[in-house]
Subunit: 339 residues, 2 copies
DNA sequence: CCACGATACGACAACGTTGTCTATGACGTT
DNA sequence: AACGTCATAGACAACGTTGTCGTATCGTGG
């Protein structure tokens, strides 16, 4: 157990604890020589400030919370955690995770108590939590600052981090076009899903720019689940003039399309190119590997945590609505090829 | 923000803060009437003890850490977190996660500092962290108590939670037998992997019990990755007398077997039964769904966190080596059928 | 050489709890 | 009536840090 305290450092350095405190917190008012001496001692003794004492005194907890829902795959949440953790480590913060929909845990009171007791300095809110009005209300009622990751709506309500779904879908469509595809099908996500809408917009725009009138039957409805991808793919491939490439609004549905193709004896990518969106775990492990848009999830979460941590120095931050945009990129795997 | 403190409660209740403290911590020495009055007040004012003050004074942090490596899929880690979180919530603890292998974070110093600063009451260690001697050494050097989840070796080194891999594999094999399969192939995991070894043992024992001499060529080597499953499956299916059922030591490899079967034009489960082990996300989303052994990962982590929390009341716990066994069950999906 | 403003540092009181020790009654026993 | 015993409760000092304010010490300009 680390039993050395600020007092020990102070004694050995022959200074007051306040001076050590100043060094730790990079405050000014310490001479270079003294600072160096104290820093060496801290290093040598492996001293770490006691978080509890610190936060008791400073009213900061050095804790960043990540609030998430257990929904579908863990991949997204995992990436978020990894990213947020990077930022936290860098800044000497810790990361606490709070889950809001475990069966039996009323999301309201459960979350509220956890937040109260946790004394978080700030929260990172990935989807879908970042778009849940009920949860946002609870958080705001506590006066906590938070940054949303890839929110669906309510832009301007709070600081957030995002990527340009529409532009990404546009690029992907353009890439298929450049590969020689002309009949490009699209599998849509849920109607109320902002990202899905933006992805469809991107597809539509790219097609329009190239002078193509997208036939209504080229767009098949889906719900982001694999089964819906299979059904939608089946419908598209059953058309009199089936598309030569299918762009699914997420990877799961693209996987469904792969199944649909295989059911019809079509081989991918020879007979059909299939591309997705997300670059989740499926994309890499499927065979053939899925060409897809890589979402910088970890990076977005990292940026979010960073914004929070930076913001604590500046209280005005809370009321500002900052936004930070991060870059996607397209990952070329085996599921798409030129026609 | 919750600005009410123990002093407010004490004043309004007309008692000393110590008495309120006693009520909060369920200590004895408080009359029923007083206790009720204080409890009501706490409820009414929505008072939550300040964690920092509490842990500063009591030298307990009310923080459980989950240390994990970013390895392969997030599913396992996700389940662990969900389970541990359940236990933490119940007991009023918070859960902090620490990652040990993010690029650029030296696992040694990085973890050590995080642990020192974090002041965890205890750690939950899922695989593969629970079998990493280097990491265990660091943790033990800090004098932290920890419970391992499904460790591979070093039983007795610390308390742990586990399930009986061997028995599960035995059961699964028996089930295939009961479905009429006689030539049952097995795809092994990495040689140095304890669970893999136990699973193979289970398979062997079940076969032996039924008087079958397992031919060496029925067992194909694998490394838990999908590709190795594909190759191993290909080898098994290429035998003069191919197995009618293949039991892969994990789901990923079972997925590979599905691909191998499809490459050969065999349909699952009509021509070949395929079963896996883990019940990860792949098992449900594959087509056909994979019959597999469900590992109670979340439950194991929950039990681990519980053991830690219970143990804090009893310091002797640290030196004891407790173990808790949890039940698996077999999930029947579409990939296996009777012959 | 003095006054003066910086600069560098220290003393001391918070912060909100828990741990330890002590005080007060009520009650039963001799 | 005097005395222990028990249940209940409070006073007070930690815990390890930061915030506030005060005070030496130093360099500088007049």
């Amino acid at each position: 157990m680390s039993d050395i305290t600020i007092v020990d450092i102070a004694k050995q350095a022959g200074v007051s604890i306040k001076t050590v405190s100043r060094v730790i917190n990079r405050e000014e008012g310490v001479g270079p020589a003294t600072r160096a001496r104290v820093e060496d001692l801290i290093e040598k003794l492996g001293y770490r400030p006691n978080v509890s004492a610190r936060s008791l005194s400073s009213r900061r907890s050095y804790l960043i919370g990540v609030v998430f829902m257990r929904v579908g795959a863990y991949h997204y949440v995992g990436e978020v955690q990894v990213g947020a953790m990077r930022a936290c480590r860098r800044a000497g913060y810790h990361m606490v995770i709070e889950q809001v929909d475990d069966p039996g845990q009323a999301r309201g009171p459960g979350l509220e108590q956890a937040l109260k007791a946790g004394r978080f300095d700030g929260l990172v809110l990935p989807p879908p939590v970042c778009d849940d009005p009920e949860i946002l209300a609870i958080i705001e009622a506590q006066g906590l600052s938070y940054v949303r990751v890839a929110p669906d709506r309510d832009f301007g309500r709070s600081p957030y981090v995002f990527m340009d779904d529409q532009q990404a879908a546009h690029d992907m469509t353009a890439r298929l076009w450049d590969l020689g595809h002309r009949r490009i099908g699209f599998i849509d996500g849920p109607a109320d899903h902002g990202s899905a809408r933006r992805r469809r917009e991107g597809y539509m725009t790219a097609m329009a720019e190239r002078g193509v009138r997208v036939k209504p039957e080229w767009i098949a409805g889906g719900d982001f689940m694999p089964l819906s991808g299979l059904e939608a793919g089946d419908r598209l491939l059953g058309l009199p003039e089936p598309p030569t490439a299918i762009f699914a609004a997420n990877d799961s549905m693209a996987m469904g399309v792969l199944s649909a193709a295989s059911k019809r004896g079509l081989s991918v990518p020879a007979d059909l190119s299939v591309v997705g969106f997300d670059d989740g775990p499926l994309a890499e492990s499927s065979w053939p590997g899925l060409t897809t848009v890589h979402q910088p999830i970890a990076e977005m979460a990292e940026a979010a945590a960073e914004m929070l941590i930076e913001g604590f120095g500046d209280p005005r931050f809370r009321s500002r609505t900052a936004a930070r945009q991060l870059d996607y990129h397209i990952v070329e795997r085996g599921s798409s090829t030129s026609r």
